[in-house]
Symmetry: C2
Subunit: 348 residues, 2 copies
């Protein structure tokens, strides 16, 4: 494949920053003659052609941030957006939102559309399909074009950029340990299939907590839901799976669910089966949702601080956009937002 | 003010369609010589200059729809977006979303940004501040530029465009009549201040239902909340107002609330005051929210069919964008989505 060499590749090859390369190619007086000659020669050798889109982007600041999220009917993502909006407004930026609907191709289309001069940078949580396909070329291409990306929640270790995550593993582990402390002996897990990165990490937290407390890991206590279905529209399916779980394992006295809907459905099924929450069954979910707060009994949850994630992501992106210290462009941070266990009535 | 004459004004003045004017000015063979001469003379007389943005928009189809909504942490709006997305995807369009955060200036900025070549048309529900200011120049300017708008839910009678609304008046009236049929004698209303168009219409439905059933309208049974506050963040304030309402009017046996949060708060306050729902107090809300479904007891609500609103709005907009029959460009529809009363456990 006869690929064009990029600014980034030149920078890597010569062990300088992208901005140094960019300045050298523009014959900037900021760069020493020695470095300029080396970079210009290298660029000539490899037939470097400036990327016009990237150049026009560099020249035209839109003061707009693009957010790409998998879905909109989801309290977590809307809270993240609120956080981004808050900081963006404070710092003089506008926000526009594209939805991937959990589809790889929609994610790519949306990013290409917005990257084409509408925005200065992206805040993104990738779609489930992108996670399954493990195809991140659109992210790489955007970054190589000189447009910064901040990933949140569903992040990818292969992509070098700023990231904001919650400690899913620890959050889950703490939740399960709370159930153990509260006397639960047989704790079920309701989670997603493993390709969803956060589901996987929360599942590992569950496994680790059981193991550290010498509780046997029983695969029949782990219900892994197919997360491509919209369970809000198919509550009956979700509930019948959980009913099955409870009926086949009558000793279950605790449930850790990796999201709010699974947790609330577990409480509902328990009620139908004549089990009292928290007396017979203690339940903990993982979310910032409003349902947890308004449920009866109120649901104990691992709070993800979604708004705080959005605020942090916006600060990271705008810092990068406004950074004068261009030699540090290549330094990326991963900020871990600590989860809290919000105790309500679904645990003792 | 020395305003430039627009295509639309020429069209209105000469009683022809905008597209006829546009075609005449381009000397199109589709238009009769007589009409062309008349239009060209008029345009010359009034020094008409083509709007470059509008022209470039006309020439460059983005196949993208812009949605402008007041807030994102709101199940109604996210459901509308889901409806728009569904139809847009089916018909080969992409969707991007701008948030006004209930602010007039943010609404204007977002529309200007997106109208500048990113999208083909808008689907919009205006901000509370825009409703208060009654300043719709940004909507008029967009339409005059040749970019179609479909308004939904919070619409403005002064703006000529396609609209999708629910019958707020009838929905509210039916809900209050349900309470009356169920034996309620003293029905409280929890609503917003009157500048919110949907709040006002729902309030009128309440008033009409009482009046038709010869129940006295008591102003102290009507709690009008300041809707500029985010009550999700200030539940205590909302609850203390409702507590006050119930304590000062102990005969209240029914509540109609114009949204989900007010209705759920009423149920919560009732529980705290030792009232049973629905035995002592019957409650009906107005929403499509998830909270109503998951609440205990489940909340009876007027369902707005938000997703259906979004689907209809998308069809109207795309029909307009793809319309060949340009002479009908000036015909606008207002589609009224019928509400349903979804009966759950909060009514007898």
């Amino acid at each position: 494949m006869n690929r064009k060499i990029t600014l980034k590749q030149i920078a890597k090859e010569l062990d300088v920053s992208i901005s140094t390369v960019s300045k050298a190619l523009k014959d900037s007086p900021e760069i020493s003659d020695d470095t300029k000659q080396k970079i210009q020669a290298f660029a000539k050798l490899y037939n470097y052609k400036p990327n016009n889109i990237a150049l026009s982007l560099k020249n035209r600041k839109t003061n707009t941030i693009g957010i790409i999220i998998p879905e909109i009917v989801h309290h977590f993502f809307s809270k993240v957006i609120r956080g981004v909006e808050l900081v963006a407004n404070q710092r003089g930026y506008n926000v526009i939102i594209g939805l991937s609907n959990e589809s790889f191709s929609k994610e790519v289309i949306n990013m290409e559309m917005l990257a084409n001069g509408s925005i200065d940078g992206f805040i993104i949580s990738i779609s489930k399909e992108t996670q399954q396909l493990q195809d991140y070329h659109h992210l790489t291409a955007t970054i190589n074009q000189g447009m910064p990306i901040v990933m949140f929640d569903r992040v990818v270790s292969e992509i070098e950029c700023d990231k904001v995550i919650v400690n899913d593993f620890n959050g889950a582990k703490n939740a399960v340990e709370k159930l153990i402390e509260n006397g639960c002996k047989s704790i079920a897990l309701i989670t997603t299939k493993d390709y969803v990165s956060v589901g996987k990490l929360r599942t590992q937290g569950y496994i680790d907590a059981l193991s550290e407390h010498n509780l046997t890991l029983e695969s029949n206590l782990m219900l892994k839901m197919d997360d491509t279905l919209d369970y809000e529209e198919h509550l009956d399916l979700l509930e019948s799976e959980i009913t099955q779980l409870f009926k086949s394992n009558q000793k279950i006295d605790g449930v850790f669910a990796v999201n709010e809907l699974y947790a609330l459905s577990a409480m509902k099924v328990a009620r139908k089966l004549g089990l009292s929450v928290p007396e017979d069954l203690q339940v903990i979910g993982f979310t910032d949702g409003v349902l947890s707060k308004h449920a009866t009994p109120g649901l104990t949850t691992v709070s993800q601080h979604a708004q705080q994630m959005g605020e942090k992501a916006a600060h990271l992106l705008i810092d990068k956009l406004e950074s004068e210290n261009t030699d540090q462009e290549e330094e990326y941070q991963t900020v871990v937002i600590t989860t809290d266990l919000v105790e309500r009535e679904s645990t003792k």
